[in-house]
């Protein structure tokens, strides 16, 4: 220790000594300050910013900012000292009447430094807790009375208490329509209706059970229910924001959700997969975390603070997604200060962001298990590729493949110490060059981390060192690349030379100009281009001699001559495309970054980081995950998932059981399905909610599967409540206008998808192909232009609407008007509005005009061109029933006068079609 340091230490000791002698008396010196400056706004009467100074524990806890106002022995970190010293009018205290005098501030500092002694209150502690119902553990309530279906027992008890008589059972026609639309989003086919009516007469219960089984097993079930989940998390296929770029292969997540519902993957597993599926062989499930919009780095600008803010905004999108969908808590409130309504602190918010610090918005190869459908498909395709490669090998050892995002050159592996590329074009742009060989086929030997060096002639450089050559071996794809052009003086085209650290066996080369662009986005006018064309590959052998092993010109000449080899190359290029559609390819389902240490951001500002927090779930729900900031991202997320589905968290089961209820009955038992906090609505039937939550997570039925969504849905739709008529009754309406007590099945307008898909089903044009690339309705656009609807009615759009490409905030010019979400904000429940624009769209759009024609043609074909029979057929196809006499007469007259398609158009626009029976 030098003398100087020693002296400093000495001073410090004396300083502390000095404090200990200072005589600060709480009653005489400190309390009057609180009373003069603070108590009016921060006392028993008012607690501005959730803060009060009338007890020591309140000082220790602090207010909404989440920072302790007083940290005993540490005035420097005590927020109270910060605000009374601050000049910032938004923070500084007191807000009016001038600042504290310096000696007053000193007194406070000394008092805190001495331990903030408040006589008589030194042992006081605040009990952290909440009496809010949703945060209490779920207990299975007793079923009130005997009933075939327990939910009826709960519902009926309440209706009896209220004195509301229940409606009788609805008619079988309404029942099959209702069940079909609720479960699959499609009305039933006329033939199925006919069968059901016969079966129902014979044995109504059995007929209905068979129907429900059939609907739950239909692949259309998953298409219907996946959309409900996608709504909540505002999933879409574009980024939103300025350029609103397409997210390539984001739809693998949509297909995953459909699969989950169809295969009845238990909800706890669904949660685990969406939070940590990268470790479970379903990597695409992480598309959940990046479902929300984001602002891409390229459009944030160059200011470092703007870049930090954008990252914080992206984290907040993740918080919103997780909070609204799984937790039913509005986490975002706690981004800037403690939650105003719920026991969620700002520390909780940032602890939860720490769980997701390794996630970034972008693309990666999703991790797939061997059994994953895309993996099995890929294995088939790879076999085909291998077959074609051996076909080529019969003719030659060198060839070139086009993989869309990059080109690959193959040759017979040999041992080398260097490799040289001589380009034939005068301009070359490369983001990466990869060289593969043996022993492991997937190790990029060119990567700088393997000791490889790359050189070129600096004279090729276009703009000094703006595009350095080292970028071709830095392992990063994208716009950060090497650019080079012809040297006039030397009459030389660009070249690159790689030197390996030690002799390596090489046999394959992969090159791209902007692979990120290819992997991450699509449908832009600026198509993916290769900024290089032909070139020579020379290798330096171990003895120091150079040998040409591939010439693109020669390869292409050869392929023209040898048709079988040339065709095999063409086949491989096609299979490469097929692989990107059907196999594991980089998909916009999030990518991974090195997790940073997480700080609480004071007042939500990334420019004001405070205490470090560990990855954790909210404290009030015992959110300690047993991991710290050294844990891997995946470990954090996996632990968080276990907490999410674990016993300590009563929200998960309640929120999902309630959501399923909402989609069956039209409104949740908690009508604010995305918010179970104090600002949300209390449950209309608290015991029923807890019963369905426990029956969901921990079934009492011996054959029950925990967390089975289909089983819960089956309980709901087999209830009397679901099968009730939707007829109004005076007493019902008087006592329960919204039918929330379910004395009748509440009528409701169906969603945009049900209207659209039902029209296609009726016209016979519905293409039932499941999954895959979304059908296109928009243009191919310039980067910064808006998407425009080009064709929203042609044959390629005749698939279910869940497969319509979903550009954030773009109006599809027909069905968006029917409250289809713009995917900007989480949507636990769609509003239902009725507007003239809906009427115009359903009357005049090309889609409806076209489909009315198809529907008329189908009806005529199926009625031997008999007009009366075809009118009847149209009623069956649209309403699942035959017309009444008056309806038939009126329709027939119009069919005669104006054509059958006018009748079709009217039926498509009718109230009966638009409402759930």
């Amino acid at each position: 220790m030098t003398f100087k340091k020693f002296a400093n230490l000495l001073c410090l000791v004396i300083f502390i000594q000095d404090f200990s002698f200072a005589n600060v008396n709480f009653e005489d010196d400190i309390l009057p300050l609180f009373e003069d400056y603070c108590i009016d706004c921060h006392g028993p009467d008012k607690q501005k910013s959730g803060f009060r100074v009338d007890r020591r524990v309140h000082l220790l806890k602090g207010g909404d900012s989440g920072l302790p106002a007083v940290i005993p022995m540490n005035p420097g970190k005590s927020y109270m000292i910060e605000v009374i010293k601050s000049d910032d009018p938004e923070i500084g205290m007191p807000p009016k009447g001038g600042k504290l005098f310096d000696d007053e501030v000193e007194l406070l500092e000394q008092w805190i430094a001495k331990g903030a002694v408040w006589p008589g209150q030194m042992e006081d502690k605040i009990e952290e807790g909440t009496d809010h119902w949703a945060f209490q553990s779920v207990e299975r309530p007793a079923i009130p009375q005997k009933s075939d279906n327990p939910i009826d027992a709960f519902l009926n008890r309440r209706l009896e208490e209220e004195g509301i008589p229940v409606n009788k059972k609805t008619d079988p026609l309404s029942l099959i329509r209702r069940a079909s639309m609720v479960l699959t989003g499609l009305p039933p086919q006329p033939s199925r209706v006919a069968d059901f009516l016969v079966d129902y007469k014979e044995n109504s219960e059995q007929a209905y059970t068979v129907l429900v089984d059939e609907l739950l097993a239909s692949p259309h079930f998953g298409e219907r229910w996946a959309q409900h989940w996608l709504d909540v998390i505002r999933w879409a296929e574009t980024n939103g924001s300025e350029s609103n770029l397409y997210r390539k292969l984001a739809w693998v997540y949509r297909d995953y959700v459909i699969r989950v519902f169809n295969q009845d993957v238990p909800y706890d597993e669904f949660i685990r997969q969406q939070l940590a599926g990268d470790g479970m062989g379903v990597g695409e499930a992480l598309g959940f975390l990046v479902a929300g919009p984001h602002v891409p780095a390229a459009t944030v600008g160059q200011e470092p603070s703007a870049i930090r803010q954008a990252r914080a905004d992206r984290m907040d999108e993740i918080m919103q997604t997780v909070g609204a969908s799984m937790l039913g808590v509005t986490m975002s409130c706690a981004r800037c200060h403690n939650h105003k309504f719920d026991p969620i602190s700002i520390q909780d918010y940032y602890s939860m962001t720490a769980v997701f610090q390794d996630i970034e918005f972008g693309s990666r190869f999703p991790e797939f298990s061997e059994e994953h459908p895309r993996k099995t498909k890929a294995n088939e395709i790879w076999k085909d590729i291998a077959r074609n490669r051996s076909k080529i090998r019969k003719k030659t050892t060198t060839w070139e493949e086009d993989w869309g995002g990059y080109k690959e050159v193959h040759w017979k592996p040999l041992e080398v110490v260097g490799l040289r590329l001589n380009f034939w074009s005068g301009y070359v742009g490369l983001d990466e060059v990869e060289i593969f060989g043996l022993p492991a086929e997937n190790i990029n030997l060119a990567n700088a981390s393997n000791g490889t060096k790359v050189k070129t002639d600096f004279a090729f450089a276009q703009q000094g060192d703006r595009f350095p050559v080292t970028r071709v071996i830095d392992g990063k794809y994208g716009t950060q690349r090497w650019q080079a052009s012809y040297i006039k003086e030397k009459k030389q085209n660009p070249w690159l030379e790689f030197t390996f650290e030690k002799p390596v066996k090489v046999g394959r080369l992969r090159m791209s100009s902007n692979r990120e662009y290819y992997f991450e986005t699509d449908y832009l006018e600026q198509k993916n281009k290769f900024n290089f064309d032909k070139f020579l590959v020379n290798v330096k052998l171990v003895d120091g001699s150079w040998e040409e092993i591939a010439s693109i010109q020669k390869i292409r000449d050869f392929m023209k001559r040898e048709k079988s080899a040339g065709d095999a190359v063409g086949e491989i290029n096609h299979l490469a495309y097929k692989l990107s559609e059907e196999g594991p390819r980089p998909s916009f389902v999030g990518n991974f970054i090195q997790p940073k240490i997480t700080h609480v951001l004071h007042r939500g500002s990334p420019e004001n980081p405070r205490d470090i927090v560990p990855p954790a779930a909210p404290k009030i729900l015992s959110g300690d995950l047993g991991v710290d900031n050294t844990a891997s991202g995946r470990a954090r997320r996996a632990e968080f998932a276990e907490w999410m589905v674990g016993k300590k968290n009563p929200l998960t089961a309640r929120v999902m059981a309630n959501r399923i209820w909402q989609h069956v009955f039209g409104a949740g038992l908690v009508v604010t399905g995305g918010d179970f906090g104090r600002a949300g609505a209390p449950p209309s039937h608290p015991e029923l909610l807890d019963w369905i939550a426990t029956e969901f997570s921990n079934p009492s039925r011996p054959e029950g599967t925990p967390w089975s969504m289909k089983e819960l849905i089956r309980i709901f739709v087999t209830s009397d409540a679901f099968q009730r008529s939707n007829q109004p009754s005076d007493i019902g309406l008087e006592k329960d206008a919204t039918s929330s007590l379910l004395w009748r099945f509440p009528p409701r307008r169906v969603e945009a998808e049900v209207i659209r898909d039902g029209i296609l089903l009726a016209s016979g044009k519905l293409n039932r192909k499941m999954g895959g690339r979304s059908y296109r309705i928009h243009n191919i656009k310039k980067t910064y232009a808006q998407w425009e609807v080009l064709n929203n009615f042609g044959p390629e759009t005749w698939r279910r609407m869940i497969y319509q490409e979903r550009m954030r905030r773009v109006d599809d010019q027909i069905f968006t008007a029917f409250d289809f979400p713009d995917c900007g904000q989480v949507r636990a429940k769609r509003p239902v509005s009725t507007t003239p624009l809906q009427a115009l769209n359903l009357m005049n759009s090309d889609f409806v005009v076209d489909q009315a024609k198809h529907l008329a043609t189908r009806a005529m074909n199926e009625s031997n061109a008999n007009l009366k029979a075809s009118v009847i057929r149209v009623f069956e196809l649209i309403f699942s029933r035959k017309p009444m006499k008056e309806e038939l007469n009126a329709s027939l007259q119009i069919a005669k006068d104006r054509g059958l398609e006018i009748v079709c158009r009217a039926l498509i626009n009718s109230n009966e079609y638009a409402f759930l029976p």
Partner: protein
């Protein structure tokens, strides 16, 4: 579909007229406004549904049959309509309305105490205004030669020079100004206003967004979207050239086809309604078809400016200048016609997304500002000024608030390229005119260079709070329950800029 006489079956009509019935029977609806239902049925939490600032929300009393019926403001006010002229791309305040002699004095020098890196990269030297400033009107307000027509109206304007925003990126800036949030998916101002106030004219949309002839702005529909409010309150976008989608009868149908469709539809709905006596949702949907039929006549009528007198066309600039100016001038005439018909909110865009390149499609002059700003001003200045003068002559300014705005300002210094100005989120100018605001008045100041707002610093929240206030709405109480929160246009912020109120 056509606007014919026999619209609705008698049973439909009796049901549409059944407000009294609803009161007597305590009847309610499931269709509109979850919040309304919640409050009616006591489904809200045990606590009062207060919002962040502790004030209880004022919920518009929505008529379930028709979400557009006019509703009273929270308090009496002069303005019952609003015209928002939005100039995407960021208009340079220091080259238009915010006169800074120091820029001339320090021209060519390194900016003292200003950042070395701004949105697009390294910053260059201070640049004097590219156009001369002259005193205008009785007030002597200094306004540049870039916008002489607007300058001539200075005595009618109420400037706010001290605005600042949260972002220096355009889409977020547009979102923030128009929806109160930089993120997407929040209801726009027009959506809030029509949610609160309904419309005076049921035959036209309550809220019309007139996109620039070159296309929508960067944030597209988000600038006039309904966010999580019911779709009834979204802005309907059309301009002088393009009617709303699906307004016209399909080409393959005759008017007789339309009449037949409507008459069959009425009968089917009538039969159906007999099974559900008193169902408001069904009746509302029948009514919406009636409204749609009226719009098929009223929108083409209002779009047809062929009968406007020559003098008007000339005044708006329809007969001189570039084609873009003429197109925009037509949009300005359309705006006036919509306001005359009682449309609650008209949002008029002057600029589109930047697909055409730097400063060519909007005000984003990162390079050659002398040419690119001049090009934008040629389009904007005369028609906009004519629109405001015309409104004044017709007495429209008595009840209409005019808001001219842009998402942020531009820098007092040049960019590294030496020909353009970068984004400036810390100081920019907007102005008001018409109902409820002072005339020939300027509020707030930016510093000597126009770099930072210093005197009367006003946030975008303050700006939006002020517009709502001028419309008779308390920005702290106009809220909508969405996903756990009483959402507001101004989030948890905002103070009315009282100094601008007349």
């Amino acid at each position: 579909m056509n606007n014919n006489e026999e619209k609705i079956s008698s049973i439909g009509r009796s049901l549409l007229n059944r407000r009294g019935f609803m009161k007597n029977a305590g009847f309610s609806t499931g269709a509109l406004g979850l919040a309304q239902l919640l409050s009616k049925d006591g489904l809200f939490g045990s606590d009062d549904p207060t919002n962040f600032t502790g004030k209880s929300p004022i919920r518009p009393n929505l008529d379930p049959d028709n979400p557009y019926t006019p509703r009273d403001p929270h308090f009496e006010t002069e303005a019952n309509q609003v015209l928002i002229i939005f100039c995407p791309g960021a208009v340079s305040h220091v080259d238009t309305f915010d006169y800074k002699p120091d820029l001339t004095k320090y021209h060519g020098q390194k900016p003292p105490g200003m950042p070395a890196v701004t949105f697009e990269g390294p910053s260059g030297n201070i640049a004097k205004p590219f156009w001369d400033f002259k005193p205008r009107g009785k007030s002597g307000k200094m306004i540049s030669e870039l916008v002489p027509h607007l300058g001539a109206l200075a005595d009618d304007f109420c400037f706010v020079h001290s605005l600042h925003t949260q972002t220096s990126a355009h889409p977020q800036g547009e979102n923030f100004l128009n929806t109160g949030f930089t993120m997407e998916g929040f209801p726009s101002f027009g959506s809030w206003a029509t949610y609160a106030l309904g419309s005076e004219n049921e035959e036209l949309p309550a809220f019309v967004a007139i996109n620039d002839p070159r296309g929508p702005a960067r944030s597209g529909k988000n600038n006039f979207g309904n966010g999580f409010l019911p779709a009834a309150f979204q802005g309907t976008d059309f301009n002088a050239k393009n009617p709303p989608a699906n307004l016209a009868r399909p080409a393959s149908y005759t008017s007789a086809d339309d009449r037949s469709t409507v008459s069959l539809l009425q009968r089917l709905n009538g039969f159906h309604l007999e099974k559900y006596p008193g169902d408001a949702d069904l009746a509302a949907r029948i009514a919406s078809y009636e409204l749609a039929g009226k719009m098929q006549t009223s929108i083409p009528e209002v779009m047809d400016i062929s009968n406007e007198p020559v003098s008007i066309k000339k005044e708006y600039g329809l007969e001189s200048g570039t084609d873009l100016k003429k197109e925009y001038a037509k949009n300005c005439i359309l705006a006036r016609r919509l306001l005359e018909k009682g449309v609650r909110v008209v949002q008029l865009f002057n600029g589109s997304d930047p697909s055409g390149g730097n400063g060519i499609t909007n005000w984003d002059s990162h390079s050659n500002i002398d040419k690119t700003h001049a090009m934008q001003a040629e389009i904007m200045d005369q028609p906009t000024a004519a629109l405001i003068s015309d409104m004044k002559r017709r007495g429209l300014l008595k009840n209409t608030l005019v808001v001219w705005c842009t998402e942020f300002g531009r820098m007092p210094f040049l960019q590294g390229n030496g020909t353009g100005r970068d984004h400036n989120p810390d100081a920019f100018t907007c102005f008001f005119a018409g109902a409820g605001v002072k005339k020939g008045y300027s509020y707030g100041e930016s510093d000597n260079f126009g770099f930072k707002s210093v005197k009367g610093r006003s946030s975008v929240y303050d700006f939006n709070a002020t517009i709502l206030h001028l419309m008779g709405l308390d920005h702290e109480r106009l809220s909508y329950y969405h996903n756990g929160l009483e959402r507001r246009l101004t989030n948890v912020h905002g103070h009315v800029i009282k100094q601008v109120l007349a």
